[in-house]
């Protein structure tokens, strides 16, 4: 809050300088965790989004220049609300990129009230599907990931007793609900569900509780630095079972952990080897610019910006202003989008559906797909 108050005031200070733009120019906003314990993710997401902005400007798809205003949320709802207020009320952007389930839930009503489209490509809390017409998701939510994951581990891997360590926020609570719903039907059992506060870094006691429950698999529903600490300390404190998580394990810091070897995690299926032009260009340019392969979050945020560019270009062609309301109408009118990795169509509630792939972290921190599960 200390810094929050500061940010409340500070973020509004750029207004004066930022307004001297040409009338045709288009601006969108982005809410990323650029500092704090979640900064690694902000980096990944913004690099993807920025590449899409650069591509759009290079291709002159839009009349005028596209620019993206990045606001730092540190992944917390509080900072997210301050940032969305600025983007909506002061900057008047029609379209905002959102990340983190907690942030998404907090900002959605504000965006909806102002008829601004907010799109999530990172948070996977299942209730993100229910945030109203102005909130879209391009990432399959955790319910898809959990529902794909549970039958796989129970049936294919014969890991029936699952212990859940989850962060006490909308994401963690959402995932817990999914496990409670999905496990009994698949023949599994939730033998322990332990929640930890967002800031906790101590897991020795939690490890003892988990061991006591004698699970076959430990699912960690958290993110960022906390997940890194949890993996290391669970292993340090005698938890030898398979570890698992959702897409957050694709964090390079986790892949690099020796303790994470053998862990399973789900991601949406992204086919970067696909032959379509959009994917090829993204893969090549991203590698050229950042010197490493893109991660699923990078791709999602590239795709969000790309969805915006496609919709806005169409609106401009029709002579309509690029407002949140028109963007929403145009999305409903568009059957599908050519995005990196796939041709994607939105469901009526603003979510997308994609096959889920299950990855295993192998030697040297390389994740390799071990199964693909179609979801419906």
């Amino acid at each position: 809050m200390w810094q929050v108050i500061g940010r409340l005031a500070a973020t509004f200070a750029f207004v004066a300088s930022a307004q001297a733009a040409r009338a045709q120019d288009v601006r969108i906003g982005a809410l990323f965790a650029m500092s704090g314990t979640q900064a690694t993710f902000g980096e990944l997401m913004s690099s993807g989004a920025q590449l899409a902005v650069d591509h759009a400007n290079a291709d002159r798809v839009l009349k005028g220049k596209l620019s993206m205003l990045v606001e730092d949320t540190q992944g917390t709802p509080q900072n997210g609300v301050i940032a969305i207020n600025k983007l909506v009320n002061v900057e008047s952007v029609p379209f905002v990129l959102s990340s983190y389930s907690g942030v998404a839930k907090a900002i959605a009503p504000i965006a909806a009230r102002a008829k601004v489209v907010a799109v999530n490509g990172g948070g996977v809390g299942p209730d993100l599907a229910e945030l109203g017409p102005y909130f879209w998701n391009v990432i399959p939510l955790a319910n898809f990931e959990v529902r794909a994951f549970v039958p796989y581990v129970v049936k294919q891997r014969n890991l029936k007793r699952i212990a859940l360590l989850y962060v006490d926020d909308p994401l963690g609570n959402g995932i817990r609900k999914e496990f409670e719903a999905a496990l009994p039907g698949a023949g599994g059992e939730l033998v322990a569900a332990l929640s930890v506060p967002v800031a906790t870094q101590q897991f020795a006691g939690v490890a003892a509780r988990i061991r006591e429950a004698r699970p076959d698999l430990v699912y960690i529903a958290s993110y960022g630095a906390q997940q890194v600490a949890a993996i290391k300390q669970l292993r340090d404190n005698g938890v030898t079972q398979t570890l698992a998580s959702y897409g957050a394990f694709s964090n390079p810091e986790i892949l690099a952990l020796p303790e994470a070897k053998g862990a399973l995690f789900t991601t949406q299926l992204v086919d970067t080897d696909g032959g379509d032009a959009v994917t090829k260009r993204f893969v090549a340019d991203y590698k050229a610019k950042h010197g490493k392969a893109a991660n699923v979050y990078t791709i999602n945020y590239y795709n969000i910006v790309r969805v915006f560019v496609l919709l806005a270009a169409e609106l401009q062609k029709q002579g309509k202003p690029v407002t949140g309301e028109n963007l929403l109408a145009q999305r409903s009118a568009t059957r599908s989008f050519d995005l990196v990795g796939a041709k994607v169509s939105f469901e009526a509630n603003g979510t997308v559906n994609a096959p889920i792939q299950i990855n295993e972290i192998g030697a040297g921190g390389v994740a390799k797909a071990v199964a693909v599960v179609a979801t419906k």
């Binding site: 314990t37 930890v196 506060p197 870094q201 020795a204 006691g205 630095a225 600490a229």
Partner: protein, 290 residues
Amino acid sequence: MLLLQLLVNGLQTGALYALTAAGFSLIFGTTRVFHLAHGSAFVIAAYVFYSLAARAGAHWSLALLGAAAAAVLFGVLLDRVVYAPIRRHEGSFFTLFIASLGSAIVVQNVVGIAFGRSVVTVSTPLSRSAEVLPGVFVAPLAGVAIGCALVCFWLLQHFLGTTQRGVALRALAENAQLVRAYGLHPARLSTLAFALGSLLVVPAAALTVATSGANPAMGNHVMLISLAATIVGGVGSLRGAACAGLLLGMAENLALWRLEPQWSEAVTFVVLLGFILVRPTGFFGRAHAH
């Protein structure tokens, strides 16, 4: 077995809490400075240890020495540069308290800018537990922690009980006038108290970096625990602070037996509030709360 495991964990946590709390208690008891920046000394020691051991690749003993030097330097500098001028003007406890709070905020953010706000760890094979009894896992570092605490307390007891300066330090806690009358210099003794008190956080800081990692904001937690332990143990009583530190570490871990982890900090402070309301002088307290 869970209970036994939690007890062992509690012993490890409690040993470290006892050390930091004794440091805070020593400083508060002898100088009456409500030294909130005690947590900052912890953070500084932790990051210096991390820089030397993990980044520069120094031997752990060298890194420990560096961390100790940094913590002591910080404590002494704060006493000389910040607290001493305020005390000269007979500033109230509150003035000192705010100055200390300000210092803590500065340290937390300087460290945050320098090292980032994420978690840093020094990896060591010693943090890996082995099963000593069925269902009870103990890491070598737990033994190191408990051993460290015992050695430190023995040394401290020896110093305060037998050396001239140590005895003077204890006397200062009782009566500053008396000490002056015996020709001892309170300012110099106060420096000694800060040096010793800050030194006591070093083992805990280094061990924390090796087990769960450190971040710049953890000074807050250390400060809250030290303060709670000092009051629960009774102001002016090192033994009280140490026992209370141990107790709070145990309580925090044993709470996991039945409660979710998010309640553990609240458990500590319910104990603290209970003591303040029912027995403000703490376990071993002599000083009056008024």
